[in-house]
């Protein structure tokens, strides 16, 4: 319709790059809605007429047969509109994501305190809750296994144990100059997303359901609800615009709540909502796995590891859920950044009568890394060196390492190791050496307060280890006014994924981001999606959206070349418009012309990660597309009379590849660090001997508060382009920074170790609560009183 705009010639066009494209610190797309309270979460959606609210009645027993479940009084309670139990499930009574074993409703047997027994639907949640309490339930208690040790003693596993092995670890352990053995207990972690789990189900024609769910995995919700109702996948449509936090906790487990809402709506024909309050959420849903990891390491006088054997056992809870892949990732990260020549890694996936543990930022990797970082520190204290020096001589070598010190225990060659550069930068910016000396002096001069310092690295493998999940799709429309509708399979949980993907599209078309409408994730726009997890959200969906943009750009280019009779190769999309020959055409104008010329302005885009493969049988392969790296130095002060402590200063250098949005990536680094710090310090999950979780609300479960943030926190992104062809050479940043928090844990141990002049490692288990810290102080002081007593690490 319009011919070249602006009346300027191509020569005059500024080579301006679009402002909100790749590399710009664009604000989170919902920032204004967040601060004004206008961002809608599932519980904020306008409630439909006739809405029912659902309460889940939960098992009070960790392991028991249900002898009698009499719900007459529940059904008779005034206001109760439906009561649903196992026998009311038309399809499969199971929401297991990968493997069956997670009943929607217990059927004759309960296996954890909090397990869903039946659901009550009423017009107000108070009615449903009161009615649920009227059930007559008779249990026959069975022996309950609560801890990892209980399960190991009973050979109770949800999945078979696995082993990685290379070389001759036993022989080299026996020959090593130094050898130490030990074990570390690493606690779990509740996700504590601020928005608890919720699902809203609406019924449509033909019994079809529309489900709003706070989930990282809408496809899983869709498929699960279809299975539970016994209907085809196409009968269910799942939508999520945003979550109030996910952190892995909304990958597999929201399926339970969506399924129950789907069942209530299926049976009543009325819309239904299931929103958990905080205590129910913490009781019913799984957490980060807690671990018991034993180690046996042989090393030389310099602290170089010659052989190591790990045995890692995790509490999976009552079912497998995602525990297979989670424990695999522990195995993949027990090396962290270190070359382990003769190595054996055994992984036990323990079945206990507790909630089924699940994905949590890092997905089993962090626990493995805590263990090897503990080992390194113990070696350092043993050989009398600064732990950083011991780290350095054990790091993986470069891609062309003549000694071959660059192959992981799963036989993947590390070709992109940039840790030496990162560590070197961090040592300088954090002034490591001088501060180490200052801390030694502080500790000499202070009797009651002690400082600790630790630098720990992160090397984290990026890709789903279940290879098939490394795929993504996008759907893109350009409307005839030139506005762009963007949809993809990724979900927004606060990490800024929607913003980053929109930036990628803006970059391709060289249009500003406000032209792009970011839309809710729904299963009827992009099917068969993978969870937004494994830090892969932007790598996968960004590339899928980019591919969609490239397809449309190709069509537009082809059309313009023909329409204006110019060589397609010379057509360029710029911030000023599209340059076609000697003309500058506004993006809108080109779109209108293309529309009138009957060019399709809608497409899907697809991406699957190249290069990855893994043979689970042999334990060999290339499970990761690339690694993300980082390192942190933490300084802490410990009160050795109370065990209380503060983190005084943290310096971080973190690898984001060529960052798509430095502000958002920095936010992930900072938030991830604090979350990792919380996991290893004040966040303590306490189950009693009956399997009841006693810390099920923020009054008893303490995530970091504002004042726990280190007063000095220097974060530096390292933005070297990814050596692999990831989207715009960026790197995944969701999970890796969490493990920077390990530096706090090791610094606390370091501070306590000063009590015994660093001759002994205090071996504090995680989380290092003030109690554990004080008890470790007492232990070291006691031993110090008896200097002739030999230290044993057994």
């Amino acid at each position: 319709m319009h011919e070249p705009i602006h009346g300027i010639t191509v020569n005059q066009i500024r080579a301006d790059h679009v402002n909100s494209g790749v590399g710009a610190s664009v604000k989170h797309d919902s920032a204004i809605k967040h601060v004004s309270g206008e961002a809608l979460y599932t519980d904020d959606l306008s409630e439909p007429r006739d809405l029912l609210h659902i309460y889940i009645a939960q098992s009070t027993q960790a392991h028991a047969k249900i002898l009698r479940l009499d719900l007459d009084a529940v059904k008779a309670y005034p206001g109760v509109m439906a009561v649903i139990q196992a026998s009311d499930v038309p399809g499969k009574n199971d929401f297991g994501a990968v493997i069956e074993g997670d009943p929607i409703f217990a059927d004759g047997l309960v296996e954890y305190v909090g397990q869903s027994l039946f659901a009550v639907a009423a017009e107000h949640i108070d009615i449903a809750r009161k009615a649920a309490a009227l059930a007559q339930i008779e249990y026959e208690p069975l022996p309950a296994l609560i801890t990892v040790r209980d399960a190991l003693a009973s050979d109770s596993f949800v999945l078979p144990s696995k082993t990685f092995r290379r070389g001759e670890p036993e022989a080299h352990l026996a020959q090593a100059k130094h050898r130490l053995q030990g074990e570390i207990k690493i606690g779990g972690q509740d996700h504590y997303y601020l928005e608890s789990n919720i699902a809203l189900a609406l019924s449509g024609e033909d019994g079809d359901l529309k489900i709003f769910s706070s989930t990282q995995h809408p496809t899983e919700i869709q498929h699960c609800c279809a299975r539970v109702l016994g209907v085809p996948d196409h009968a269910i449509n799942v939508e999520v615009r945003r979550m109030g936090g996910g952190f892995g906790g909304k990958e597999s487990q929201p399926a339970l709540f969506a399924s129950i809402a789907a069942l209530v709506t299926h049976h009543t024909g009325r819309p239904s909502k299931l929103r958990l309050d905080r205590d129910d959420d913490m009781t019913i849903t799984g957490k980060r796995h807690d671990y018991l990891i034993r180690y046996d390491v042989g090393f030389d006088g310099q602290g170089r590891i010659q052989a190591i054997a790990f045995e890692a056992a995790s509490r999976c809870g009552m079912s497998a859920d995602l525990s297979g892949s989670i424990n695999d990732r522990t195995m993949f990260h027990l090396d962290n950044a270190y070359y382990l020549e003769h190595v054996s890694i055994v992984s036990h996936r323990c079945k206990t009568h507790t909630v089924s543990n699940t994905a949590f930022r890092g997905f089993g990797g962090p626990q493995g890394m805590v263990a090897i970082e503990r080992v390194i520190d113990e070696i350092a204290y043993q050989v009398g060196k600064d732990p950083l020096d011991v780290r350095k001589i054990n790091f993986y070598g470069p891609a062309d390492d003549p000694a071959g010190r660059n192959v992981t225990p799963y036989f993947m060659t590390v070709t992109d190791n940039i840790l030496p550069e990162i560590i070197s930068e961090l040592e300088t910016t954090a002034d490591y050496t001088a501060r180490r000396a200052q801390i030694m002096q502080f500790n000499r001069e202070n009797t009651y307060l002690k400082k600790g310092l630790s630098l720990t690295p992160v090397k984290f493998g990026i890709s789903f280890t279940a290879t098939h999940l490394n795929q993504a799709g996008a759907l893109m429309h350009i409307y005839s006014d030139g506005s762009i509708h963007l949809n993809h399979g990724g979900t927004e949980m606060g990490q800024g994924l929607f913003t980053k993907v929109a930036q990628i599209v803006a970059e391709e078309f060289q249009v500003e981001i406000d032209r792009i409408k970011i839309t809710a994730t729904t299963t009827d726009k992009v099917p068969n999606t993978s969870p937004t997890a494994a830090s892969s959200g932007c790598d996968l969906n960004g590339q899928a959206a980019r591919n969609a943009a490239l397809i449309l750009k190709g069509r537009l280019t082809e059309f313009a070349a023909e329409h204006y009779s110019v060589d397609a190769a010379t057509i360029r999309f710029t911030a000023e418009g599209v340059i076609v020959g000697d003309k500058l055409i506004a993006f809108n104008a080109l779109i209108q012309k293309a529309y009138f010329a009957r060019i399709s302005l809608s497409t899907t885009g697809f991406y699957s990660t190249p290069k990855i493969h893994f043979n689970a049988e042999s334990g060999k392969g290339h499970p990761f597309f690339y690694f993300a790296y980082g390192a942190a130095v933490s300084e802490v002060t410990v009160d050795t009379l109370t065990g209380e402590y503060k983190v005084d200063r943290v310096d971080i250098v973190h690898d984001c590849g060529a960052s798509i949005n430095p502000a958002i990536d920095t936010g992930q680094v900072e938030g991830g660090f604090i979350q990792g710090m919380g996991w290893l310090t004040t966040e303590e999950l306490v189950y009693d001997e009956c399997g009841v979780l006693r810390t099920h609300a923020p009054s008893t479960y303490k995530i970091p508060a504002c004042g726990d943030r280190p007063r000095i926190m220097n974060i530096q992104l390292r933005c070297d382009p990814n050596r692999e062809e990831s989207v715009y050479r960026s790197k995944a940043v969701g999970e890796p920074p969490l493990m920077l928090g390990i530096s706090v844990f090791n610094a606390l141990n370091d501070a306590v170790a000063s009590l015994a002049d660093y001759g002994r490692h205090p071996q504090i288990d995680a989380p290092a609560t003030p109690e554990r810290v004080l008890m470790a102080c007492a232990k070291l002081r006691e031993r110090e009183c008896k200097p002739d007593q030999a230290l044993t690490h057994a």
């Binding site: 604000k27 989170h28 938030g671 508060a705 943030r709 280190p710």
Partner: protein
């Protein structure tokens, strides 16, 4: 007469019937469809539901951030309730607190964000209008400390707080720079509206068999309690709120103390600091710190801004909790309470109020009118208080301790009152330990010997907060720390909640 009246934003709301246990949060979300205010925990710990209550104080509006999840709607009589929906200007511009948050990338998932915004908003408004001298340009360090106090009751799981603090520095600065002592025209209008709806008489509101009574004088309170002995006495509601949201208890009759001006007194009389039953921590804090400077660290760790804005000092006593943080301090200070009933009054040493777990020396028709704390006026008194918890801020103590020692000229211990929380079923003095100190020289040997006696005084429980062993070890170490701090004032002996080191 029996109508609840308050302003929701600028709109006058009048309710003739209201459940005494309807929370502000449920009212906002379920009835007003103001969905910007979020439920994160329903127990006053996460701050996602933070709203602001404005009240007329000395002809000016005073803004308080509170947790909507545990504030009952009926207690808003005569007040203004502001939610995140009220902050944008008529021209749809963001409030400076909101704008700063956007600029600093201070939201990720956004669910906690409205709560942070409201905590910041209350602080901003009070600061904007402060009659006090404008603060010196704050150091970065001081601003961070201050903002940490402002936000101690707001949990964020995504950001790590850094960008929120950065935003805070920006709006703090903006509030200080644009400081305008006078209220705006809009605020003046609100003041007039609020004055018109100030409750002048006692009120009773009934819904579905539940009764809410808001007496406006002490005799009216005594009357009400005489008629309904054992009724629930509500002051700040920071505990009672949880009876409703967590234990799902139905309360038949609730008598609210907040409408009685006479219970809001905090003053020094006859060498004693008297704190009325309706005085909140926020109101008491500056006065307490003035008289007992060593309480500052303790009180900031004790609770968040939102909790201090609601919770009362006397409520912390009255509920009889073994882990309330104020009773050990008050017992060590030899405080006394006044119990009032229709036609009578008695005075009781606070120590004697706590009989056993869940049992206090209070008749069903009695209420605690006030607590009286003798002021310290002797240099020979040594005193300090300690709170130990997993997290510095907004955490329930595993152990709290308050030590009061009087020495004679020869440095012999004349009086020892050592009181602990978290060590027994009630806040309790360590009598054996005290005996081991009395008439002994104040030396390390004496203190260590006395600390040994704590094992005789206490058999603490092991629970999810701490083990018995830890509680005993910490209790003994705190006594040692107290001694060290008196003896070696130059030695760094404690970590402040603000991150610095404390030299006694």
């Amino acid at each position: 007469m029996n109508t609840l009246r308050f302003l929701l934003g600028q709109e006058l709301i009048e309710l003739e019937s209201v459940s005494p246990t309807l929370t502000v949060l449920n009212y906002l979300r379920e009835e007003e469809k103001r969905i910007g205010t979020k439920e994160g925990c329903a127990e006053g710990d996460c701050g996602a539901c933070t709203v602001v209550i404005a009240e007329v104080v000395d002809d000016r509006l005073h803004y308080r951030a509170v947790n909507a999840c545990i504030v009952f709607l009926a207690t808003l009589d005569g007040k203004q309730l502001l939610t995140v929906e009220d902050l944008k200007t008529a021209r749809n511009e963001l409030h400076p607190v909101q704008q700063s948050m956007v600029e600093s990338h201070a939201s990720q998932c956004g669910f906690c964000t409205p709560g942070f915004v409201m905590s910041g908003f209350a602080e901003y408004q009070n600061r904007l209008h402060t009659l006090d001298d404008l603060p010196e340009p704050q150091s970065d360090e001081a601003a961070t400390t201050h903002l940490t106090q402002v936000f101690a009751g707001n949990l964020c799981r995504c950001t790590g707080y850094g960008p929120i603090i950065e935003a805070g520095k920006s709006w703090l600065n903006q509030a200080d720079k644009t400081n305008q002592q006078a209220m705006t025209e809009a605020e003046a209008k609100v003041i007039a509206q609020l004055k018109a709806i100030q409750p002048q008489v006692s009120k009773t509101l009934i819904q579905a068999g539940q009764t809410y009574i808001q007496p406006n004088t002490i005799p009216a309170l005594a009357d009400a309690l005489a008629k309904t002995p054992g009724a629930t006495l509500l002051a700040g509601g920071t505990d009672i709120g949880l009876w409703v949201t967590k234990q799902h208890r139905a309360l038949d009759t609730v008598i609210y103390l907040g409408g009685i001006q006479a219970l809001k007194r905090i003053e020094v009389r006859d060498g004693q600091l008297e704190i009325g039953a309706a005085v909140t921590y926020s109101e008491a804090l500056p006065v307490l710190i003035r008289h007992f400077p060593w309480l500052e660290e303790y009180l900031y760790r004790h609770s968040s801004t939102q909790i201090r804005n609601s919770g009362t000092v006397v409520g912390n006593i009255a509920n009889g909790s073994p882990i309330g943080d104020m009773p050990p301090v008050l017992i060590a200070l030899n405080a006394e309470i006044t119990l009032t009933r229709q036609g009578g009054q008695r005075h009781l040493p606070l120590e004697d109020y706590f009989i056993a777990y869940g049992k206090q020396d209070r008749q069903p028709t009695e209420f605690i009118e006030c607590v009286r704390i003798p002021l310290l006026n002797s240099d020979s008194v040594l005193m300090n208080v300690y709170k130990i918890s997993k997290r510095f801020e907004q955490d329930i103590s595993s152990v709290s301790a308050a030590f009061y020692i009087e020495l004679d000229d020869q440095q012999q211990v004349q009086v020892a009152r050592l009181c602990f929380g978290g060590m027994a079923a009630t806040p309790k003095r360590a009598t054996h330990c005290e005996q081991a100190l009395l008439n002994k020289p104040w030396t390390e040997a004496t203190v260590h010997a006395a600390a040994e006696r704590l094992g005789v005084d206490f058999t603490p429980l092991s629970d999810f907060r701490a083990s018995r062993e830890y509680r005993l070890a910490v209790a003994a170490n705190l006594l040692k720390k107290f001694f060290i701090q008196q003896q070696k004032p130059n030695q760094a002996t404690q970590i402040s909640y603000t991150g610095g080191l404390i030299h006694a």
